[in-house]
């Protein structure tokens, strides 16, 4: 067996993209690297992958992985609508949307909310650094209250907790992680790929140029000191055997439609990722304590996704021709009978 290829027989190089043009040390680059690893190990079909993004530093990153896949860098805050349209047109596509905190929580908040409500089958990554990078460091709407900008301005506004909002609005897979924590992030990404429905990952990703200083709540140091991990996730492909024994009561196992599973190993506390109210409570309490909780906050594998609710056929709409789509001559004649 060739150990340099994945389950699809593809080498890791296939999952790489152009060189990043972001700042050295940017959290987003760590996310890209983790994403490449996650996609490679998962064996994602590059031809079925649709990389969608809005505008901002985060939204440039789809150019930095899986060169061979189609990518779409749209307009600011509107990735959700593009992703929704693409999925409806071809439900065989694996839609991977990459957004930022400004792109999602400010200009794109409306589209974000409605994509959650629709439970579009897609992965939605928010590369969250609490500030606008490309326009040189203004606060974004996910900046925590009391967080301080490089030049001293204090954010007096309440933060928008995109994970809390997503759960509130009916999202069916909501996770939070940290760009530097590949051990946690990769299994969460892979679980998101397997989830049928919207899978949101808010990934705290420090901006080394504008938001990594003392007083910022999205800096490497702050995250390190305030990181509260809910559980340790393992992702298990349906075809894989479970080689680790989980003691009863020490792990929560969640199985997705395709047979893949994510096992959430218990750490200090009990946490039930299928409890929606519990998830909201946990997020609120963590915020009160100034903690950054990470892990799979909430998951519901049973809800219908948009394509199911629309009762779309298995065959992608994009591939249908005039014989399949036009009204028959007989029905037409009846419609036009005067």
């Amino acid at each position: 067996m060739n150990t340099n290829v994945n389950v699809r027989g593809l080498s890791r190089d296939v999952y790489k993209g152009s060189a990043s043009t972001l700042c050295a040390g940017c959290g987003h680059n760590s996310i890209t690297n983790n994403l490449i690893k996650a996609l490679y190990e998962y064996g994602v079909d590059p031809y079925k992958l649709a990389k969608m993004s809005g505008i901002g530093c985060s939204s440039k990153t789809p150019a930095y992985f899986v060169d061979r896949a189609h990518g779409f860098n749209g307009v600011h805050g509107r990735m959700p609508s593009l992703a929704t349209g693409a999925k409806l047109a071809n439900r065989e596509l694996m839609v991977l949307g990459i957004s930022g905190d400004g792109d999602t929580a400010s200009i794109g908040l409306g589209q974000f909310c409605h994509m959650m409500r629709r439970n579009v089958d897609a992965t939605y990554i928010i590369e969250d650094n609490g500030c606008y990078g490309l326009t040189k460091g203004q606060f974004s709407a996910t900046a925590d209250r009391g967080s301080i900008l490089k030049k001293g301005q204090v954010n007096e506004l309440e933060t928008i907790d995109v994970c809390g909002l997503a759960v509130e609005l009916g999202a069916t897979f909501v996770a939070r992680s940290f760009s530097g924590d590949g051990k946690q992030l990769i299994p969460l990404l892979q679980a998101a790929f397997s989830h049928r429905g919207i899978a949101v990952l808010d990934i705290i990703s420090p901006c080394v140029t504008f938001n990594d200083h003392e007083g910022s709540t999205k800096s490497y140091n702050y995250v390190k000191e305030h990181h509260a991990v809910l559980h340790a996730p393992d992702f298990i492909m349906g075809s894989q055997e479970i080689t680790v024994d989980y003691e009863p009561g020490t792990a929560q196992e969640i199985e997705f439609d395709n047979g893949d599973r994510v096992v959430l190993r218990k750490l200090e506390r009990d946490y039930d990722a299928s409890d929606r109210i519990g998830a909201l409570r946990t997020m609120h309490e963590a915020r009160e304590r100034g903690e950054l909780v990470t892990g799979l906050l909430y998951v519901d594998t049973a809800a219908h996704d948009l394509c199911e609710r629309e009762r779309l056929p298995k065959k992608p709409l994009a591939q249908m021709n005039e014989d399949e789509l036009r009204i028959s001559r007989e029905d037409w004649a009846q419609l036009m009978a005067v």
């Binding site: 031809y47 047109a89 779309l312």
Partner: protein, 610 residues
């Protein structure tokens, strides 16, 4: 009282009149008006109904005009011959608007005194409320059936057979056959009351005729456009409700439910999303077309404003997409239920930077259907957003139309490289102009070939779709887009011209056409012949230039304040042609009539004729 008969009535009384029903919105008068329209149409008499309604669900004044002409004119007339007055709030104004020699059927309790007591009209008082109260026991139905009473009164006064009304009722209540009898009872109440209590003392009458309506049907433009979407292969529709375009998507939904659903599985070959706003609606359209589906959204002016940013992305990233704009008077809260051709120049260059879109301008129900279908082909062929601009008048009013033709051509999906073709060509560039027509090739996500993938972006890109801010690359790309736009001139619906070498020409587009038809007849009756060209799309076809060149004076008629098409002609055509052009504009929110053209045109021609 008996009015003196004006001269025109002595010659022109049969099948040439406009009936206006003045009622209160939400009182159910729409059904009565449609039944009346349909009944007259069944007599072989051409009809042109115009609903002039308020932005309101219940309580505000509303008017419905049914124009009837032996010639089959489809435009509005400003002369009201027969008024049905059932709204006390507008009673005074409604009486004032009736032409001299006209007829007023009114609720008997309205006072006919002072300004409402005219010497030159005939009054027929009918105690509608009393009749309804006495004969309709169901209080809930009463206000609706009151309207059917006036249908009966008019049937008697104008000469419509009861059986014809009944047949029209069956059409109107196709899905609720039980309602036919209840409504017919109310119609009979009106017929009987009129027969027993009113003495016909005016000359207006309807009489069956032939030769004008055979083989025609009544349909609205939004319905026809929706059928165009079905036959044009649209599979993804995203929309935000907005008058007057909502019924386009709603018709599309209803046709898809009827004809795109697999009876066994319940699966539907269409995805239709009511979006959170127009930004999302057009975003879904571009996401869907990027992934290979045919997609559309329908909106009106305010929604078009919200789509401006995405329209630019669609233009530069070269994404197909069909955007219906059923135009209305502006701004957002302007006159949402009134018509205008006010978005032409806005739509043509919608977005920031240098943009020029393909804009189709349907003027008839048949074109609403054909252009809708064609829009999907053009969008795919040119890989660009295509705007279909109709208006409230075309979209929401009923028009006489020949049955819509079954399409004989397959879809034109344009220049798409699939895996087999990619294997053949070995190399390609997303934005490379291979044939010199400005149109590049594209691949669709999901294509299983290592060469298929590319990165779509609105920002600067070279022929390989790689990011570039190089000045030459940017300029070359813009020049190619200009080439593509020029190529489109020959592909879009070409103008229709009647050019017999007269001195004066008229140019119009969209629904203005119907007023031009009547205006040219009126002018011709006065011995003034005109040539005519109807623009049916932007960019302008070569024939438009030639037509203007051949005529000394060309009147551009349109329904907006600033002469938008007139301005586009001046900016797009050779400068010396500007001198040939003059502008005639109508912009009060109600559909244009012939007099709005003949009066200014003759006014301008007078010095020349003298």
């Amino acid at each position: 009282m008996r009015a003196s008969v004006p001269e025109y009535l002595r010659v022109n009384t049969a099948n040439d009149l406009t009936i206006r029903a003045a009622t209160v919105n939400g009182s159910g008068s729409q059904s009565a008006n449609l039944v009346l329209t349909n009944a007259i149409f069944r007599m072989g008499i051409p009809v042109a109904p115009k609903n002039v309604f308020p932005s309101n669900i219940e309580g505000l004044p509303t008017w419905f005009d049914v124009r009837v002409t032996p010639q089959g004119y489809q435009c509005r007339s400003r002369d009201i011959d027969v008024l049905v007055a059932l709204n006390p709030a507008t009673w005074h104004a409604d009486v004032r608007d009736v032409r001299s020699g006209g007829v007023i059927v009114h609720e008997a309790s309205y006072a006919v005194t002072g300004a409402t007591a005219r010497e030159d009209v005939t009054y027929y008082p009918v105690p509608f409320a009393k009749l309804a109260k006495e004969h309709v026991s169901d209080g809930g139905l009463r206000k609706y059936l009151t309207n059917m009473i006036y249908v009966g009164v008019l049937a008697h006064l104008l000469g419509i057979e009861a059986a014809t009304i009944e047949a029209a009722l069956r059409t109107q209540f196709k899905r609720k056959p039980k309602a036919v009898d209840t409504n017919m009872d109310a119609v009979r109440l009106g017929i009987d009351y009129a027969a027993n209590n009113l003495t016909k003392s005016d000359l207006y009458r309807l009489q069956p005729m032939s030769g004008k309506t055979e083989g025609l049907m009544l349909m609205d433009g939004n319905n026809a456009a929706a059928l165009g979407c079905v036959m044009g292969g649209c599979t993804v529709a995203a929309w935000y409700p907005i008058t007057p375009s909502s019924s386009l998507c709603e018709s599309f939904i209803s046709y898809c439910d009827r004809f795109r659903v697999d009876k066994e599985s319940g699966e539907r070959k269409a995805a239709i999303v009511q979006a959170e706003d127009e930004l999302a609606a057009i975003g879904m359209v571009f996401g869907a077309t990027w992934a290979g589906a045919r997609a559309m959204t329908s909106t009106s002016g305010p929604g078009l404003s919200l789509m401006a940013e995405f329209a630019g992305l669609g233009y530069y990233a070269e994404l197909p997409g069909v955007i219906f704009d059923v135009q209305r008077a502006g701004p957002s809260t302007g006159l949402p239920t009134r018509t205008l051709q006010g978005d032409v120049s806005f739509a043509y260059t919608l977005s920031h930077g240098d943009t020029k879109h393909i804009v189709l301008l349907p003027g008839t129900v048949d074109e609403a259907y054909e252009f809708s279908m064609q829009a999907f082909d053009l969008a795919d062929r040119f890989q660009t957003p295509v705007f279909v601009l109709s208006d409230l008048d075309l979209g929401m009013n009923l028009w006489m139309s020949k049955p819509l033709a079954y399409p004989e051509k397959p879809f034109d999906r344009g220049k798409v490289l699939d895996a087999a073709k990619l294997e053949e060509v070995k190399s390609w560039g997303r934005y490379r102009d291979v044939e010199g027509d400005g149109i590049p090739y594209r691949t669709l996500p999901g294509t299983e070939h290592p060469l298929a993938g590319y990165f779509t972006r609105g920002s600067g890109h070279d022929e390989q779709a790689n990011y570039s801010e190089n000045p030459d690359v940017y300029r070359n790309n813009l020049d190619r887009l200009t080439r593509k736009h020029d190529t489109a001139r020959a592909y879009v619906p070409q103008p229709i011209a009647e050019d017999l070498g007269r001195d004066v020409g008229i140019i119009a587009y969209g629904t203005t056409h119907h007023a031009v038809v009547e205006a040219r007849d009126r002018l011709s009756e006065q011995g003034f012949q005109t040539d005519y060209l109807r623009v049916r799309a932007l960019p302008f076809a070569q024939d438009v230039t030639a037509f203007i060149e051949r005529h000394d004076r060309v009147y551009v008629v349109e329904q907006n304040r600033d002469g938008q098409l007139y301005s586009l002609l001046k900016s797009e055509l050779p400068p010396h042609l500007s001198e040939h052009l003059q502008s005639i504009r109508h912009y009060n929110g109600v559909p244009i009539d012939a007099a709005a053209i003949t009066e200014p045109l003759l006014g301008a021609e007078k010095p020349v004729l003298a």
